[in-house]
Symmetry: C2
Subunit: 508 residues, 2 copies
């Protein structure tokens, strides 16, 4: 069976990932170190993510704002752990003017040196916390529930498109509350929003849980994540939600008068997901023919390809296709109008262009289809039949229109089901000691998946020792699943009585 990409997942997963990004026109290297260009099909997926997630964020009471991209260094000096976590990867603005040097080359004008350098935001707790300090005086001003869609910069040494880029796009929610309990509740509420969004919109099943102490967001009291399993068995942290306690409130001076008239520190949270999610979608749903975009987030759900042949008939074929698109757009799937496109370009091999991009339904229409009242339908999630033959089928136009919405739902469910089955099949339980762990990940299989083990939840140096032992196996603790069964055994690391279960795996 010949596939559309010239590399398979089996051959080289990392190279396959790059091939999908390139062949599906999702993104490309920009020529600017560590930054990518997100192309229309990739950005279209991001727009769908933004639209759907934004609605959820607003439905849970949050309002969008916009805060400055620049953060004065002094803002960072106030929260030591936070600086520690980000200082090594910050883009620093030091000048505000260019001039030509002696050789006509542009250089920063020394006379324009800033008194206080500015950092390009790697995350906005410090600058948003400073605003919260202005906004919050009394318990009546709480909670403050805000979100922003923005670009952020973290100067990564090794970058990989969508997964780890110097600049990326994200949303970051920031909230302030009168009590720790309320802030904790908010942290978990938004984690659940992410979990549901990932499952229902991205068709990406995830495990929601708490990160271990050593993997917390710098400055957080507790960090929670959703972890998705890629097709190479590695974990992708696809979203995080942080309970910050009063750490940032102390640093940024977010205080309020409680109803008894006393001054208190607010409790804050932050939570975010980014364009990284698109990397997850690729590695969960892609196949050897390219991407398969879940219909809910597909920029176009149905792509209609008129089979043009540079003859007089072309105009009639195009009209026929446009009429079909209009008919589909008047229908609704997942509570929204169906997104249909007629690809009227004269380019060849349009079928394979859309297969690689992963449009859920591809409909080809030529003169013979029109006279027979048919369309030729390709369902992207089932590209080949049992014999490995391309499974395009002639369907009557009327039947297709009548079934289109249901088909899209079926495809969404099929992708989710496939990924869920893979996730469940590849979380191994029953490993009870470190030797077993070593053995599992050393067995040479290409798909070691994750292992759920029990542990005694060591902290400080004890945890560091555990992390070191895991690091030698290229492993990390992903999280303590919220839905895991209670501990009933011994710690896989120490043999002591266990207190909870954790997921261990390789990761991006």
């Amino acid at each position: 069976m010949k596939h559309a990409l010239n590399i398979t997942r089996e051959q080289d997963f990392a190279a396959w990932y790059q091939a999908v990004i390139s062949e599906a026109d999702l993104a490309e290297e920009s020529g600017v170190r560590g930054c990518m260009v997100i192309r229309p099909w990739g950005y279209g997926i991001w727009e769908r993510i933004q639209k759907l997630l934004d609605a959820e964020i607003k439905a849970t009471g949050h309002e969008n704002c916009y805060f400055p991209i620049f953060i004065p260094l002094s803002y960072f000096e106030k929260e030591a752990e936070h600086v520690e976590g980000f200082a090594k990867e910050m883009a620093v603005v030091t000048h505000h003017r260019l001039k030509a040097d002696g050789n006509g080359k542009l250089v920063p004008d020394p006379e324009s040196k800033l008194e206080e350098p500015l950092v390009v935001r790697p995350t906005s707790e410090t600058v948003i916390g400073t605003a919260f300090a202005r906004w919050v005086q009394s318990w009546r001003d709480l909670p403050v529930l805000i979100n922003q869609w923005a670009n952020v910069v973290r100067w990564e040494m090794r970058t990989r498109m969508f997964l780890r880029t110097s600049e990326f796009l994200w949303q970051e929610g920031h909230t302030a509350h009168a009590s720790a309990d309320e802030a904790r509740e908010e942290t978990l509420k938004m984690l659940e929003v992410y979990r549901r969004f990932s499952e229902e919109c991205l068709a990406v099943p995830v495990v929601a849980g708490e990160k271990p102490e050593n993997e917390r967001f710098p400055g957080a009291v507790a960090t929670y994540s959703i972890e998705a399993m890629m097709q190479d068995g590695k974990a992708l942290q696809a979203g995080t939600s942080h309970f910050l306690g009063t750490n940032f409130a102390k640093a940024q001076n977010i205080r309020f008068q409680n109803s008894a008239g006393e001054q208190e520190l607010a409790n804050t949270t932050s939570w975010g997901v980014s364009t990284r999610m698109i990397g997850g979608v690729i590695m969960v749903h892609g196949d050897d023919d390219g991407l398969r975009v879940p219909p809910v987030i597909a920029p176009y759900q149905v792509v209609i390809v008129p089979m043009l042949r540079d003859t007089d008939e072309d105009a009639a074929i195009l009209d026929h296709c446009k009429a079909l698109a209009l008919e589909l757009k008047a229908l609704s799937a997942f509570g929204e109008p169906i997104r249909a496109l007629v690809d009227g370009k004269s380019a060849k091999a349009k079928r394979w262009t859309w297969v690689k991009k992963g449009a859920p339904l591809i409909v080809e229409i030529g003169p013979r289809d029109i006279s027979a009242g048919n369309v030729s339908l390709i369902r992207r999630d089932r590209l080949y039949d049992a014999n490995g033959k391309l499974a395009g089928a002639a369907v009557s136009r009327g039947d297709f229109v009548a079934q289109a919405a249901a088909l899209l739902v079926e495809i969404q469910d099929a992708l989710h089901g496939e990924a869920t089955a893979r996730l469940h099949a590849n979380i191994v339980r029953g490993v009870t000691d470190f030797a077993g762990l070593e053995q599992h990940f050393a067995r040479g299989g290409k798909f070691p998946g994750w292992v759920e083990v029990q542990w005694s939840r060591p902290t400080g140096a004890g945890l560091e020792a555990v992390a070191e032992r895991l690091k030698k196996l290229k492993l990390t603790i992903r999280n303590t699943p919220l839905a895991a069964a209670p501990a009933d055994g011994t710690c896989v690391f120490s043999g002591e009585p266990a207190v909870e279960r954790i997921l261990i795996g390789r990761s991006y």
Copy 2:
């Protein structure tokens, strides 16, 4: 008549503008030089602008992408005029790490100095042009029609919220075409999109025209603008569209093989509008009680204020209000569901909060209204009656619901009509010589508006001399209106035969 702001437009227009921004919760100073925080009500207006304009940009065939925020200095060196125009106001990233100095203060780590400094994009012609050069090989690849929504940074020395901030949000469209004619057509098409958007969505009448040579975008062959008249008579350039000819194609090497097999340079365009538009909305529609938001771009079109009194009745009042909001949301105005909000906060003076924010319709409901089957309706565009009394009126609930959509349309039209009348009344024609121009703008009136005069369209040094003479009067040429009558007289500057008509005024 007492007003909600403690300053009027008449007293001090600039201070009034700041007061509206603050009292309407639109934005605030961030503490970061020249950057503002856009608060939920201001950002909500921006979201409406984004949503509506994005639909127009897509309807005209453009696709959204995302390009890097950082631009290497070398990209700028290729287009001399472009550098010249922007070099003086660029934020320059020179380091990628912080470290603590001897005193524990954070400083850029000297060891992290970048080999080639990066500019934070002031506009993206250079970086997008570089991508176009990769994308375009043949005439079949043209036109390329893309847009991005992004933040940009121009290091302004004197900033004013929304109008001129170091960082601002905008969309920038960039296109490449096979011929100059097609690119010119695109330039004018997008100018028309902006003109219609401004008139129909912002209710801001504008004059579309070509900027004089000395006011062109750096590197452009022709720049067009829409100019809006503020309530102090000054002009605000609210959007621009540039025909770039082959200037950027030469610099970025955007070449294609034409159908005859020859290599040609592409012709490119760019066009943008920004958060500046919100400044225009404030200065066109604001009054001495705050902002009046045109219903099409109002985050909420109807704000329902339950008159709560901390009694047992409160729950029933709230329920009544929520039911009304649901009923309104099921209706449609301007082709979208009506946006209604119940402001259930226990804060006082909510009426005036929403008056200052400029919600188009404010509905107050207390126990007496409920028993009488009424609502108390305030129409923000007609706050006072002929006697200067607050013009809130009891209306039956049923009548209100039946009329709500029509009322919103009426308010939109009223705001547009008021601004259009002001614009037309304050473009003075008939000034035929420079003395007349001086006299007009020297007359001490607070509202000199604009003057439409005829000129001979000098270029180079001749134009510079004209610009100098105008500068002494604090005037600039705004544009050559596309819809102006042909010239039939003499040049106001030289007495020579005129070739066209131009608008002259003070500006932001």
